[in-house]
């Protein structure tokens, strides 16, 4: 055997390090589930042996490459031992049962604020266009309005509410709406970081457009039909928009007013809640996309549209806010 203490130290433990390296390579290759139970139990034991070897090597060995190797191995093992390793099905179930509704409930103040902004902007848009139809053009530019402007005939406006989109089929349309809306809501959320201001603008813009449309249709006696046309998917979609904005507000607020904690700590605490709520928003928008793209195009009866919209809203409210036992 060789002479140096550090050589003997290495020779005695080398096999364990190699074993740990092999197990980590297997686990990191996405095959953690394929590790035998015994192997999985082995990793923490080998990790602790490696980390104490690192501490000894730093104090007694002058082989720089050995210390660097042990540092890298211990770091990899640390992230595996203390990292996220729950299985996907279990954490998804937990998200739907607890994570999502809890996060939404925790955002109640921000949700109320976002709802108020949306409602005020809708009222403003409605009042402006109702009193002077010229406002319509500045709120909905020509491209967005798709011909639905004050110069259009009532017959045309009515037809828009009940027609089938030509060309592309319904499910394609639904998918398109979902991807578009999800993109916008993620943007609204991310903009919250810029001290909430751009998120307020985005929500207000949404409300103004809504109010202007309602005023235009209302002025032609089509208030009931436009309500149904919007309600069938709108209760879900607007709720999702409000929640996305609320999540953005939470983060922006934490950055402006961190309270006793540091800005970094306050922001990451807010992000835990906001992130869960946002993942839920994407799911709500899938539902809204299907309701708008498929449901609205096939269901032409106003009362049915209202009923579906109200039912969806009731469902979401019950899911988020009904008190329940928590484990």
């Amino acid at each position: 055997m060789s002479g140096l203490k550090s050589q003997r130290f290495r020779a005695e433990r080398e096999a364990d390090w190699k074993r740990l390296e092999g197990l980590l390579a297997k686990a990191e290759g996405g095959r953690a589930t394929r590790l035998a139970a015994g192997e999985l139990m082995e990793i923490p034991v080998l990790y602790r042996a490696t980390i104490s070897a690192l501490s000894v090597a730093r104090a007694t060995s002058l082989d720089a490459s050995l210390v660097a190797y042990l540092e890298a191995l211990a770091t990899r093992a640390y992230f595996f031992v203390y990292g996220a390793r729950t299985n996907v099905a279990e954490s998804l179930a937990r998200f739907f049962r607890i994570g999502w509704p809890t996060a939404v409930r925790a955002l109640w103040r921000e949700t109320l604020a976002a709802t108020a902004i949306l409602a005020l902007a809708t009222l403003a848009g409605f009042a402006l266009v109702w009193s002077n139809p010229d406002w319509y053009g500045s709120i909905l530019p020509g491209a967005l309005a798709e011909g639905r402007d004050p110069t259009a005939t009532t017959a045309f406006l009515r037809e828009v509410l009940y027609k089938q989109p030509k060309g592309a089929g319904l499910s394609f349309f639904a998918t398109f709406l979902f991807t578009h809306n999800a993109g916008v809501s993620i943007l609204a959320f991310a903009l919250g970081f810029a001290f909430c201001v751009p998120t307020v603008l985005l929500v207000a813009d949404n409300g103004l457009t809504l109010g202007a449309l309602l005023a235009l249709y209302g002025s032609r006696g089509l208030g009931g039909p436009i309500g149904g046309w919007l309600a069938i998917h709108g209760t879900t979609e607007l709720f999702a928009t409000v929640l996305a904005a609320a999540a953005g507000f939470r983060i922006g607020w934490a950055v402006i007013f961190p309270g006793p904690r540091s800005r970094l700590e306050a922001a990451s605490a807010a992000a835990r809640i906001a992130g869960a709520a946002m993942a839920g928003v994407v799911i709500m928008l899938i539902a809204a996309g299907v309701l708008e793209g498929v449901g609205r195009q096939t269901i032409r009866l106003d009362w049915a549209r209202y009923a579906i919209g109200a039912a969806m809203l009731g469902l979401w409210l019950a899911y988020f806010y009904l008190p329940r036992e928590e484990k």
Binding site: K5, L62, G83, A168, R272
Partner: protein, 290 residues
């Protein structure tokens, strides 16, 4: 038992990171250049995947005719959506917590407080890319279209504002993106290193150094010598061997090679320094007289 993190001032990118066992792992943060390179690799992979996806679906859709192509349109839209919003999230949720670009550069995402990297944190840090990457891109593209002076000014201000978000990592010590800042994460180096041969194994008994011979150098020189031996460049070894022989007053024997001399001297010096280390004397370098 939550590990604590704090800056170690000596090296700019090394951070103290105490595990629950009480050992400092001395994490090294990814530098701005590495982060940018990793992102460019990921962006190239995403762009290439989009091209492939579009071509394959285009061919499939053409083969069934335009009337029956709707399912393929949906597959394309969803594929595009998942690629744009899911690429980073899905890769960072795996055990290695890194996208292919980060893996290529030996980086991974970690929670700054040393705890678990949660799904929410990964979701948030990547949702923030919307304002870091997408918004600046919109303003830059809008810059080309801006006609009248008011629009041009708006675009310029937009570029400044979003540019601040894009270059956020360069303005803080820990190279945090806006997403990292908000989600409580950072990007650290977690390279895979292999265990290399112990150079002290190689020595043979043909050399015998005296105490005076071994008193010339400290730990720093020993580790420089280790680097020279591992690189095994003949010219460097010849120069270093000459310097050491001169310094310690060693007369070169007839068949003595530079490699054999350096290896033997390395082994003997390490033995001497490690022995003193056990008695609590760590001789930092040749100027350290302790």
């Amino acid at each position: 038992m939550v590990p604590t993190t704090a800056a170690v001032p000596a090296e700019p990118f090394v951070r103290r990171f105490i595990t629950p066992e009480g050992i400092d792992l001395r994490l090294t943060l990814g530098s701005g250049g590495e982060r940018a390179a990793a992102f460019l690799i990921d962006a190239a992979i995403m762009a290439a995947s989009l091209v492939v996806l579009t071509l394959v679906i285009g061919v499939l859709a053409a083969s069934v005719g335009l009337e029956n192509a709707e399912p393929w349109g949906i597959v394309w839209l969803l594929g595009f959506f998942i690629l744009r919003n899911g690429y980073f999230i899905l890769f960072e949720l795996t055990a290695r917590a890194a996208t292919p670009g980060k893996r290529a550069l030996g980086l991974r995402v970690a929670a700054r407080d040393g705890g678990r990297l949660t799904g929410e944190a990964v979701f948030v840090r990547n949702a923030m890319r919307e304002i870091e990457i997408f918004l600046p891109a919109v303003f830059v593209l809008a810059g080309n279209a801006a006609g009248d002076p008011v629009d041009a000014w708006l675009v310029l201000l937009g570029c400044l504002w979003t540019g601040g978000l894009l270059f956020f990592p360069l303005f803080n010590r820990d190279r945090l993106r806006v997403g990292d800042f908000v989600a409580g994460t950072w990007v650290v180096k977690a390279p895979r290193r292999s265990l290399r041969i112990d150079l002290a194994e190689r020595q043979d008994g043909a050399f015998s150094f005296s105490r005076q011979h071994l008193a010339a150098y400290g730990v720093k020189e020993l580790q420089v010598l280790e680097g020279v031996l591992r690189a095994a460049d003949a010219r460097t070894m010849a120069a270093v061997a000459e310097r050491i022989r001169g310094k310690i007053g060693w007369y070169r024997a007839e068949h003595e090679t530079d490699a054999a001399f350096l290896t033997a001297y390395y082994g003997a010096l390490r033995g001497r320094l490690e022995q003193r280390l056990l008695f609590g004397h760590r001789r930092r370098d040749k100027f350290d007289k302790a």
